[in-house]
């Protein structure tokens, strides 16, 4: 029978932690703007700069799904699916946070607006 834990396991743990860190890197940016991207069916349909939202509002990218936007935060507030995983993701308010409604193919992700974007705009 195998052991419970040995030296190889330490390398496995380090490897997985490294993989986690590598996946974390592309999400980094030095900007302070919180920009939420809303994907529907794989396409970005809307980009909202959450720092520039003054009045809270809601919108519906697909029938039955409602997204609420406030200054600095965004979240799914209504969904048609059974498990409501997207609503349970809660409010997204920092870079790299993601909420997804897979049955409806809607994804919200917060990226940090990078400098090239700001120049283009």
């Amino acid at each position: 029978m195998r052991k419970l834990f040995n030296r190889i396991d330490i390398f496995i743990i380090i490897g997985v932690l490294l993989l986690s860190f590598l996946l974390f890197l592309p999400g980094l940016s030095d900007s302070k703007d919180l920009v939420a991207q809303i994907y529907v069916d794989g396409e970005v349909i809307e980009e909202i700069n959450l720092n520039e939202v003054l009045e809270p509002y809601t919108f519906s990218p697909k029938e039955g799904t409602v997204i609420s936007v406030k200054n600095g935060t965004i979240h799914f507030s209504e969904a048609v699916c059974r498990d409501k995983l997207c609503i349970n993701s809660g409010e997204l308010s920092s870079k790299g946070q993601t909420a997804a409604c897979l049955p409806e193919r809607i994804v919200i992700t917060i990226k940090g607006a990078d400098k090239t974007d700001m120049i283009t705009y």
């Binding site: 195998r2 834990f5 040995n6 794989g42 396409e43 993701s89 790299g96 993601t98 997804a100 193919r105």
Partner: protein
Amino acid sequence: MNTKKSKTKKVAFLGIMAALALSLSFLESLIPPLPGLPPGAKPGFSNVVTMFLASSFGIGDAFFITVLKAVFAGITRGTTAMFMSAAGGFLSTLAACILLRSKKFNSGYIGIGIICAVCHNIGQLIAACIISGTWALITGYGPLLMLFAVVTGFVTGTTLRLVLPALEKTINRT
């Protein structure tokens, strides 16, 4: 397990394992979403069952339970959940079959538990990206899911090591 006499017992034992895997998956679905983690991220206790079957019972039986889990997810939680369960399940069961049966790969149970959990999460992440058509999910959920896999893999690997002697005794008696 090679005599004809033991076939009935084998079926009965596999039935108990199936019931165990399904009830563990169901119990996990009752856990409320943990703050900071992607909702739907679960400890994966039913992986202990498939890992045990993969190591000591039969590769086919391990995949049979994996398919059953996916069908169960489909019935109780919908088609999306079925695809997610199947994608994660197949990859982690495959890893369990290869690693636990390998004589050369002599890591501990914790290491194998972690690799299986990572494979499970990678499978689900890829399935989620394909379903949503959005690869942004990899950087969105990926880092946290990998960290979470270290914790859950540690728990499932340890559990497997603890229950394995008792389960193997049961198989040898049948």
